[in-house]
Every structure is written in structure tokens, then in C-alpha cells.
């Protein structure tokens, strides 16, 4: 075994990456297609609010409060988006910024902000077996959902009107997808970090788009690029002593640049 994987924390980190990166890759394909990058970002930003509210209501485990608040927030945003209108972007921005501000105010009020600064950059090397168990649970849920609902999510994304004419539940599909994204973001935020969360979801899928011509190859490339970025990022961050999440993002970004030049103009599958 290479020297770096003799440490327990490195083995746990590698396990987390093996579970989480394919998860980002799958969800990312539709986050990119639905132009929901901003949503992943906004949900990530509610982390501190969830923590602060959890402390306020005396919940022991911050993750539960974080997920609870993120689901509430995602539902509210989906509702605003469905109502439509010209000011949708503005309303969502107001929602998101207010949520962040509320979290910061509550945490500074109690003088505990420093303790949660780790959530900004993330810390993979301190991940615990318990957190990995939660991550595995979320991954299983996403895998099952993706098997049964992917066609529908894609159909709704291409044309809600056409999907509705085929009797598909458009609103429920959109909401479920958003809630799932919120859950994945929260289950990973402590090791990825708020600042680069949306990049994890977006970049592998965006790079895959540069080379894929079918949905199947889109998924395969996305998973491959995500795993490659995850493991090389982990190794690099170990030797360079850098934050793991952002290092993974940099490797993924390099993959995006590399594939950009492979991009053909017209393709035949």
C-alpha cells in the first residue's frame, strides 16, 4: 500500500471520495442541463443558517438542522420559480442572501462563528465513519431515484409542456429533484466547503458535455472525470498540504479545459 494510504484518515477520505464523486457526477448532469448551478450555490450558502437555527432550537446534531433548513429553502425556491414572472431571479437572490445573513448574525451573536469556519473551505481529512455512513445512505437514495426517475427528470427538463401532455407529474418531478440536490449538498458540505460546492456538481458534468454525444456517454464521462478529479485531488492535496475540496475542483477544472479542445462541431453517435 502506498505510504499515504497507511493513515486511517486517508483511507476514510478515499472511501468518501469513492462514494461522493459519482453522486456529484450523476446529479450534475441534470443540474447543468436544468441550469441550476445557482441553486446548488444558494443551498450551500444556507449551511450556516441551518447550523445556527439548530443551535437556537437546541438540536445536538448540526447535520439534521442543516438538511431540514436546506429542504425548506429548496422548496421555497422551487415554488418561486414555478410562479414565474420577471423578478424570479431577484426574489431568489433576496431569499438566498437573507438566509446567509441570518445565519451569520445568529452565529456571531453567540460568538461561535470561528468554530464553523471549516464549513467555508471544507475538511475531508477529518471525516468520520458516521459521516461516511450518512453519505452512503444519501448515495443509495440518489441511485434508486436516478434509476426510476431519470427519464422523467430529463423529459420535464426538455419540455414541461410535452411532459405534461404525456401525463407526467411535472411539478412533483422538479421538486423531488431539487430536494435531492439539497440533500446531497448538505451531506457533503462539511468536507467540500461552501465556497466550492457548486463547482463539484457542475464541472465534471460540464466537462463530460464537451466529449459526449448521448445521455449514456454523458453519464459515463461525468462519473469518470469526477472520480479521476477526486482521487488525484486527494493525492495532490496530501503532498501539497492544501485543502482537499478546492484541490479536487482545480483538477476537475483542468479536465474541463482539456475536453474543451476535444469538442467537435457536429457529431454522429
Amino acid at each position: 500500500m502506498p505510504e499515504l494510504f497507511q493513515h486511517d484518515f486517508m483511507r476514510l477520505a478515499a472511501l468518501a471520495i469513492a462514494i461522493a464523486m459519482p453522486l456529484f457526477a450523476l446529479l450534475g448532469t441534470m443540474v447543468v442541463t436544468n441550469r441550476l448551478a445557482f441553486l446548488a450555490d444558494a443551498i450551500g450558502h444556507t449551511t450556516l443558517t441551518g447550523i445556527a437555527l439548530g443551535l437556537l432550537f437546541g438540536l445536538g446534531q448540526p447535520l439534521l438542522a442543516m438538511i431540514g433548513f436546506a429542504l425548506l429553502f429548496a422548496t421555497a425556491i422551487t415554488w418561486v420559480r414555478r410562479r414565474g414572472g420577471n423578478s424570479t431571479d431577484t426574489v431568489i437572490a433576496v431569499f438566498a442572501a437573507s438566509a446567509v445573513a441570518l445565519g451569520l448574525v445568529l452565529l456571531t451573536l453567540r460568538g461561535g462563528l470561528q468554530r464553523y469556519a471549516v464549513y467555508f473551505t471544507g475538511d475531508l481529512l477529518s471525516i468520520t465513519p458516521g459521516e461516511i455512513a450518512i453519505l452512503a445512505g444519501v448515495a443509495a437514495a440518489v441511485a434508486v431515484f436516478w434509476l426510476f426517475a431519470f427519464n422523467r427528470i430529463l423529459a420535464v427538463s426538455i419540455s414541461p409542456t410535452l411532459a405534461a401532455s404525456r401525463g407526467m407529474p411535472v411539478a412533483a418531478t422538479e421538486l423531488l429533484f431539487t430536494l435531492l440536490t439539497a440533500m446531497v449538498v448538505m451531506a457533503n458540505i462539511r468536507w467540500v466547503g461552501i465556497l466550492v460546492m457548486s463547482a463539484m456538481l457542475i464541472i465534471p458534468a460540464a466537462a463530460a458535455r464537451n466529449v459526449a454525444a448521448t445521455i449514456r456517454s454523458y453519464h459515463r464521462w461525468s462519473v469518470a472525470i469526477a472520480l479521476f478529479s477526486g482521487f488525484s485531488g486527494l493525492v495532490l492535496s496530501y503532498y501539497l498540504r492544501t485543502a482537499t475540496g478546492p484541490t479536487i475542483v482545480l483538477v476537475a477544472a483542468a479536465c474541463f479545459l482539456a475536453t474543451l479542445f476535444l469538442r467537435p462541431r457536429t457529431r454522429v453517435a
Binding site: 422523467r152 430529463l154 419540455s159 410535452l162 401532455s165 454522429v268
Partner: protein, 276 residues
């Protein structure tokens, strides 16, 4: 009727039918679909006022009217996508109602697909029509089914092409085949040709009317192409909130409301002294 080279002829259509359950289609096929008098309002604005339609099997009905006349609203009510739903009844040859509601196929207006989305045409069909997760694999039966569907509109060669790379005319044919996939007895088209050039439009109308007559489907088509409508529609309905005129091209284009809305150009151009 001018048939484009790519349009299937009637024998080809009937030979394509067994795979889609000809017996079932024939037995369940209503001779007419009735839309009960329908009114739709938004707030205190009346968008559609007491519109009643009889859409006969194998007949192409064209809905014409100025912008904001309520054409798309009417289609959405028929599709059941508005709080006010249109009452649809299938009638048999004697005019008595059948228990089953009509199966509706729909070709939407201006459906733009993201040109960078890695999605092949066969996957597009599978996303709408099949439960098997397309990101895992595509069952061979599904591929053959889609190929037959595309064959009906002369587009079988597009099966493995990337959806975002199709031309306007190819894309519209794919959407038409998609609308026909679940064997509808009512086909709705909302300005299907707005992204096509003149030749493409002509070919598309030829295909639609060929399918309509060949498969015995009731077709309701929203259009601004008065000349193509005159050539292919069995009935034209002039809508401006309520129905102002209906009948063949000569009757509708010559009617007073039509001349008032669109000027005498069309009626004179189509049925002027030289053409009478």
C-alpha cells in the same frame, strides 16, 4: 395534394401499423372527438368564449386567427394543462359517446433544445416513452420501436443523431413522430413550422395530412400559413376568442370577419378572379 419525397404513402403507413397494434387502433378508434362548449378566462379577461369543436377522424382541422386570439389557450385547455379543462368525448360512428377519453399527441410550439445537450434522438423518445433508465442502457426493443416511429414521418435515418444538431425541419419531424408514438386518436400541433423555410413547411404539411388521412387520426393544427392550410385542411376554423367562421378555405377566407382581421389579400390571392 403535393406529397414530398420523404412523406410515407398510404400503403407504407398501413404496413407500419401492425407493429403499433392495428386491431386495437381500429377497434378503439372513435369516428369523432367532441369538445364541449368551452370558455376560459384569466382574471376577468375572457380568453376563449364558448368554443365547441367536432374533430372527425381522418380530418385535418386548422385553427387560424390573429395573435392573442386564444389558439394556444384552447390547445392547453384540451391538453388539460389549465385550471379550466376542456370536456372531451369520443363518439362512435352512430354519434354515441364512447367511455374512453381520447389519447392525445402533441407537437409544441417553438420547442428549442439545448444544442449542447448530449442526447440522441432515440434517447429523446425513450425519455418520454420508456421506464428503463436511459443512462444505463437502451433496450433493443425500444430502439426498433423508435425506428419504426421515425419511419412513419420519413425520419428513420435520424435515429442516432444528436437532437441538438438537427435542422429545424428534421427536429419538427422528430417531434411529430414523438407525438404519434403512443398511438393518439387526437393530434394537436401548435404552429409547428415556425422554424422552417418554405419548402420545409410544404413537406411537413404534406406529411401531417398524409398521416391524418392514412391513420384516421383527428388533427387540430394551429397555423398562420393560410395558403398551406387552404391546400391541406379539411376544415378551417377562424378563432378570435369565439369562433367567427368555419368551413372550407373559400368560405372562411371569404367571410367578413376574416377580411376584417387579415385584409382581403388572402381571399383574393387564393380565390381571385383568375382562380375562380
Amino acid at each position: 395534394m403535393n406529397k414530398p419525397a420523404g412523406a410515407p404513402s398510404s400503403p407504407a403507413l398501413s404496413s407500419a401499423l401492425p407493429r403499433f397494434g392495428r386491431a386495437k387502433a381500429r377497434a378503439a378508434s372513435p369516428s369523432c372527438i367532441r369538445i364541449a362548449p368551452l370558455s376560459v378566462s384569466a382574471g376577468n379577461r375572457l380568453l376563449v368564449d364558448q368554443v365547441e369543436l367536432h374533430l372527425h377522424g381522418g380530418k385535418l382541422t386548422a385553427l387560424v386567427g390573429p395573435n392573442g386570439a386564444g389558439k394556444t389557450t384552447l390547445l392547453r385547455a384540451i391538453l388539460g394543462q389549465l385550471p379550466t379543462r376542456a370536456g372531451l368525448t369520443c363518439l362512435d360512428h352512430q354519434g354515441s359517446p364512447l367511455p374512453a377519453p381520447p389519447r392525445i399527441g402533441f407537437v409544441p410550439q417553438n420547442l428549442h433544445i439545448d444544442p449542447d445537450l448530449p442526447l440522441s434522438v432515440v434517447e429523446l423518445f425513450a425519455a418520454y416513452g420508456c421506464r428503463h433508465p436511459i443512462w444505463v442502457s437502451l433496450p433493443g426493443s425500444q430502439v426498433r420501436r423508435v425506428e419504426a416511429c421515425l419511419g412513419r414521418v420519413g425520419a428513420a435515418h435520424l435515429l442516432h443523431r444528436r437532437a441538438g444538431a438537427l435542422s429545424g425541419g428534421e427536429w419538427q419531424r422528430v417531434l411529430l413522430a414523438l407525438a404519434l408514438e403512443n398511438e393518439p386518436n387526437l393530434l394537436l400541433l401548435d404552429e409547428p413550422v415556425s422554424a422552417m423555410d418554405a419548402n420545409g413547411r410544404k413537406a411537413f404539411y404534406g406529411t401531417v395530412s398524409g398521416l391524418c388521412h392514412g391513420l384516421g387520426i383527428s388533427v387540430l393544427l394551429v397555423s398562420h400559413d393560410f395558403d398551406l392550410v387552404a391546400e391541406h385542411a379539411d376544415e378551417i376554423v377562424l378563432l378570435n376568442r369565439s369562433i367567427l367562421a368555419r368551413g372550407d378555405a373559400r368560405t372562411v377566407y371569404g367571410s367578413a370577419p376574416f377580411r376584417e382581421l387579415f385584409g382581403p389579400v388572402w381571399s383574393d390571392g387564393l380565390f381571385g378572379p383568375g382562380k375562380h
